[in-house]
């Protein structure tokens, strides 16, 4: 019980920012046109949102109950490490199974490397 107003203000700011980032991420999931832009919205901003909420609760437990929760630190590191990799894997699986880009996309650098257009004819090559 050693909290002051400033630390509670920081905690509230972190948690509200985190929830707003998660909300923006959900809106992005609905509004964006194809899977690549959607995963851009889903991985980046929701990762930052979760990290903000976890940091806020970590500071809350340190200030309010003098309890340093190693599990929250571990959770922050874990989410920070794994969420972008999950997004990368989903996007990669989508690209290699020929999910189309948005029709207004202008650049597809991987197409020449992976020979995406004739992928259907030799479908075992990249499995």
């Amino acid at each position: 019980m050693s909290g002051n107003e400033i630390s509670y203000a920081i905690i509230g700011f972190l948690i509200i920012t985190g929830s707003l980032f998660s909300l923006i991420s959900a809106i992005g999931l609905i509004r964006l046109p194809d899977i690549y832009t959607r995963s851009h919205a889903a991985t980046k901003s929701s990762t930052l949102g979760i990290i903000c909420v976890l940091t806020g609760s970590f500071i809350f437990f340190v200030i309010d109950q003098s309890y340093v929760s190693a599990r929250l630190i571990l959770g922050i590191i874990f989410v920070f490490l794994t969420a972008p990799v999950a997004g990368h894997l989903i996007c990669r699986a989508a690209y290699r199974t020929n999910v189309p880009l948005w029709d207004k996309s202008v650049q597809d650098d991987l197409r020449h490397i992976l020979k995406r257009d004739d992928y259907n004819h030799k479908s075992t090559e990249f499995e």
């Binding site: 599990r71 571990l74 590191i77 874990f78 490490l81 794994t82 990799v85 990368h88 894997l89 075992t124 090559e125 990249f126 499995e127």
Partner: protein
Amino acid sequence: MKINDVIVQTITKIVSFIILTFAVYIFFAGHHNPGGGFIGGLMTAGALVLLYLAFDLETMRKIIPVDYKIITALGLLMALGTGIGAILLGYPFLSHTFDYKDLFILGETELATALLFDIGVYLTVIGVTMTILLTIGEDDY
């Protein structure tokens, strides 16, 4: 056929150690906090499954040359052994006790025989989960 998995494999090498450490923590926290043998075993099996996903079945069989059915049997034997031990000392089956011992680094620690039973649960859960998943996974040959 050759696919470039370097991102997944690098992250797996780091993350699986975090999961294994956390699983051991959860396992030992089980006496006074939420946790215990079941969830610790499931989490260890989760780390192993992540390794099996990132690397392939033959590589993992070389790294961990363990038959998981034997681990299940060991766990069940351990759980049964705590019960039999109580009988041998003249108490009813599965009677548990605890004591406080001054360990070298850890200081005064509560040592309960329920921990031995929990190790049995832990090993059984790992063995059963990995046996189920690997049996499904190598179904095609």
